[in-house]
Symmetry: C2
């Protein structure tokens, strides 16, 4: 069901030794400018990007969906269809949070599956799915749906450091993912924690265990990303994520042009043409200037975040802690909070520090310190994490500790989504008829019930005029 007369299997087929996933249309701008790149800003350059010969382009999913309807007044489905049409020769990739889809709660299986179906139908070739806790049960529905649609299932491992996150842990999870049907494995290092020693070690261990390709996704936050990628590739990593240089480095990824140049003439040569990349670069260089001028891009996110190096926690989490402590007038206890974080992580089964667990752990550590007593006050979200609402934590939680935190509440040890009733039909019934322009709208509605109505209304008015109020949306007749 892809357009342009090109089969997904034919896309990106080349003999290059190292493959590149270009992220400038998704993670790069999500990381640097809060996902605010609009279709207008990408439209013109898509054919030139298609010319480059990237293995794939990450263009959708993650926060793009939310940003489209919340801030950009843009139909995310239409964005996907346009990109598909204008990049017929490049595999299109999305980031999908498994049972969380692209929203902020666990959704029922039928909705998760319906979303996958529609993503593929509208042009996605590769779904990168991940779970914050690496609980494979939270990926089951997505895996099943992706396989059913015949798309490439890239299963991502949320990378973190902790006593339980050793090679054995990651290798076992990767093997489980391969057995579950993954077509490739992605090491997803959101925080830029992986380094030029651990990256090749992990890649090597994975390559010895799984038969499918291994991809590395890491952020430049701590200034280690290009070195980690280089060493990972030498250790056998098949694909790396990079971003066109104007939106690279800082909280984004290694620069595409630099990595292409770095491997030129080596056994890992990407085969990509720096001249073709330069055409693409020129487009995004203008956008970079625009974002700097309008303040969307701050030089603050472009430097090296040395705190990540020092404390092994993501930079964004630290700034949250600082502002929470400031609000409480307890800035002087920052060091204590930093020391408390490993304790809270240990108590809660060593969750990777990624949304939403980074906020949950960080906030609880702040409370533990400023209350002067550990777990005297416990957040609702921390209770949820300990209770098992987010899934199985990487290490088991001590039953006594759990009892202390959730009292007589019953812990959840089943797959969280098993507790959810099917919701597609319910959502279809709820979606106001006047907003229903395409089958995909029910998914937008289900994920963003607060934001979707305003977006739908705006779309409706753009289509039918400001007097769309009087329109009979059911039969699409517009009164003159």
């Amino acid at each position: 069901m892809t357009s342009g007369g090109v089969d997904a299997a034919e896309r990106g087929a080349n003999m290059a030794k190292l493959k590149i996933t270009e992220t400038v249309l998704r993670d790069a701008h999500q990381s640097l400018i809060a996902t605010r790149m609009s279709m207008d800003e990408m439209y013109d350059i898509l054919p030139a990007m298609d010319e480059v010969g990237f293995y794939s382009a990450e263009v959708w999913g993650g926060a793009t969906f939310d940003a489209c309807i919340r801030f950009l007044d843009e139909d995310p489905w239409e964005r996907l269809r346009i990109i598909r049409k204008r990049m017929p020769n490049t595999k299109l990739q999305m980031l999908y949070r498994g049972q969380n889809m692209l929203g902020y709660r666990h959704y029922a299986d039928d909705l998760v599956e319906y979303f996958v179906q529609k993503s593929v139908a509208n042009g996605i070739d590769i779904l990168r799915i991940f779970d914050a806790l690496n609980d494979i049960r939270n990926l089951e529905a997505s895996i099943k749906a992706t396989k059913k649609e015949g798309a490439h299932l890239q299963a991502a491992i949320s990378y973190t450091t902790s006593p339980v996150h050793n090679l054995e842990y990651f290798v076992k999870y990767a093997k489980d993912l391969e057995n579950a049907g993954a077509d490739s494995i992605c090491i997803k290092d959101m925080a830029g924690l992986i380094n030029p020693t651990t990256a090749p070690e992990l890649v090597k261990a994975l390559k010895e265990t799984v038969k499918i390709p291994v991809q590395l996704h890491t952020h430049y936050t701590s200034g280690l990303a290009s070195m980690a990628c280089y060493k990972a590739v030498e250790a056998g990593c098949d694909v790396i994520d990079t971003a066109m240089s104007p939106l690279a480095l800082g909280t984004s990824h290694p620069a595409t042009e630099s990595m292409v140049a770095a491997f030129k003439g080596t056994p890992y040569d990407t085969g990509l043409d720096l001249k073709k990349l330069d055409v693409v670069r020129a487009h995004f260089a203008k956008l970079r200037e625009k974002y700097l001028a309008n303040g969307l891009l701050s030089p603050k996110v472009m430097g090296v975040d040395a705190n990540t190096l020092l404390y092994q926690v993501p930079g964004g989490m630290l700034s949250n802690l600082v502002s929470q402590l400031k609000q409480a007038g307890k800035e002087d206890q920052f060091e204590d909070v930093l020391k408390e974080i490993p304790n809270v992580r240990k108590d809660s089964g060593y969750p990777p520090l990624v949304t939403p667990t980074s906020q949950i752990v960080g906030t609880q550590a702040v409370f533990n310190v400023i209350m002067g007593e550990r777990y005297k006050m416990v957040t609702k979200e921390f209770k949820g994490l300990v209770r098992g609402e987010y899934g199985r934590t990487p290490a088991p939680i001590d039953p006594e500790f759990r009892k202390k935190i959730i009292g007589d509440d019953k812990p959840i040890d089943c797959r969280p989504a098993d507790l959810l009733e099917p919701e597609v039909e319910k959502m279809k019934a709820e979606l106001p008829a006047k907003y229903n322009e395409q089958e995909e709208d029910v998914l937008t509605w289900a994920m963003f019930p607060q934001v979707a109505p305003k977006f739908f209304e705006s779309r409706r008015q753009k289509k039918y005029g400001i007097d769309g109020e009087h329109l009979d949306a059911e039969n699409g007749v517009h009164p003159v």
Copy 2:
């Protein structure tokens, strides 16, 4: 003659496998903010920097001398003495352009030697000397003087790419430098051309040839620097140049904290403490914000310069070309000029593209293109380069070509400085007595005859009050 009761030999003595030269006080701010960091801005942090245990800190030379007197109204000699006093445990390093000293012409040997003597006397432990053309004869006087003063002589190779700049060429030059007395060799890659393949190749070849330590100095311009350093260290590189993260990346160097973290736990562990570095980082982070706010630091220099990757010429040279072409209304001939550069380089014996040769070659290429005929118009500087005024070019120049360019002018094939009369006594006689506050002033006067008087006058007025006009400077009596 160093202060603080610490011998130069004792400084930086530790068992770390990889050594770090911290550049934030010289090259980092020279590269990012046109060398405008003032003593006021560095003063407070110097003791904390001294605590870190860097192998050395590059703090002087290069453009700092010029910037001090031209823009900062600061005595560069006084700056050096203050840094020396406040960093007694760290080897202090300067960049010295050999026969060019820190100015813009060739100076006589006696002046070159006098400058070295005063640099060491005021606190320099390591002199990094280099010549733009890698003509060792332009380093002879500096080498002799450095050895005489008992300082560490670091001989730098101007790195570039060309058909003659192969491993054999570099290895031979390094051997010559070692034979001439060099205590270490620095690969000086001004433009960020060296990559993760060529850096370790060159390091390995040098390590196999010379017995002295090898250091890598490269700029982040093209986004390759951290990878090149990492691979160079694996190949045996003993020291790398880095910059504290707030003034790293872009046209500067790899971030100190990132490189320290990258090698942590490896056989190349620097042994430096990220917590101590964090204290230093915090200071420069505030300066970074200040420079961004006052416009000294532009986000433009903080990205990846993909043109260097594409054309193998330094980014600064390309922007000069663009503005020259604009002035001539010939922007459309940019590609032609890029194609002409290799021809001009070949004709002129493949000079490295570094100040001043980058400008000389670039401007000539522009003339060749816009005049529609090669060498129809030849600049005075290009004539000088071809005639041998700057020294011996890496490849010999075809005599017929030389004849075409300089006509009947006699080519110079001796050591250029042999044509210069001693000038210390002359300069001493010229220096107005009222400006003579210290022996070093004659060196300031000799290098910057246009700028020095204004600086001296300002210093005098600060010292003796605005009515310093009436002062008898000879005996230092200030009329009340």
